[in-house]
Amino acid sequence: MSASHIESVERLAVREQFDTAEQQKDAATLGMWIFLVTEVMFFGGMFCAYTVYRSFFPNTFGRASSSLNATLGAINTAVLICSSLTMVLAVHFAQLGRRKLIVLFLILTMLIGGVFLGIKAYEWHEKFVEHHVPGPSFHLEGEALQGQAQLFFTLYFAMTGLHALHMVIGIGILTVLAIQAWKGKFSPAYYSPVDIAGLYWHFVDIIWIFLFPLLYLIDRHMPK
């Protein structure tokens, strides 16, 4: 490597406003956590609406929830946890500076994320076919309180939809990172983009960890 090349790599490693690489990394990580806290409040509004309406209409919410496919929901939870594992391994190999393994695990994470979205799309399709999408043609079989059932499905589509949107954005971010990693942009001294994208991906996983029991598993023990 030429001297000017090494110099440019070092310049990339620590921007001028930071004293040390460690300070730079802490700033990036803290910034991401602050963003994630705003995301907590973003999703929090929906979780709050969910809590209020579930406390108002517990029985209808139970019946509406039981019409969801809990097996697919559980499988999708496992799928998302798999993608978190591959994501954390991508960060791990970034720490070790293993260029090809970073790319491999970023691509695996995207593919498993794609499987999640595929299963999600299949579930949404089922709901469309069953007329469980809120609107004029909504009908939940054997339910006296159709309006309250529509409330549940409104929350279901809004929350899983917003979650899926975050997944799509995440896959976009990982695509850019995989290309950058392939070009050799990251090293053990500088891999913050991979690290903080990992934080985002795991955060989206955590949201689903709460959505799954709250949406799919209400009153499952009740006789149908």
Binding site: F47, C48, S84, L85, V88, F212, I218
Partner: protein
Amino acid sequence: MPEHIDARKTYYYVFAALIALTAVTTAVAYVDLGPFSVVVAITIAVVKMLLVALFFMHMRYGTALMKVVVLGGLLWLGILLLLSMADFVTRGWLPVPGK
């Protein structure tokens, strides 16, 4: 924060725990626990959240400032949920003229 590189084995154990907890939360939903169903479901979800945050998101190596930021966020979420419920649950308790 100084560099911490975990052994890959740590991630595999956390992964196995998360999968196991997913199976438990699904299975326990089919058991009649009355009002405790939701308590158990939320408790398991919180444990899973902690596993992901501490190990996958490396929060256990986080600076004190990062931990304060995250706990502050969760505190505000708690205020959002608690005060909203305090409002909605008690609305019918007092007669309000003109309501």
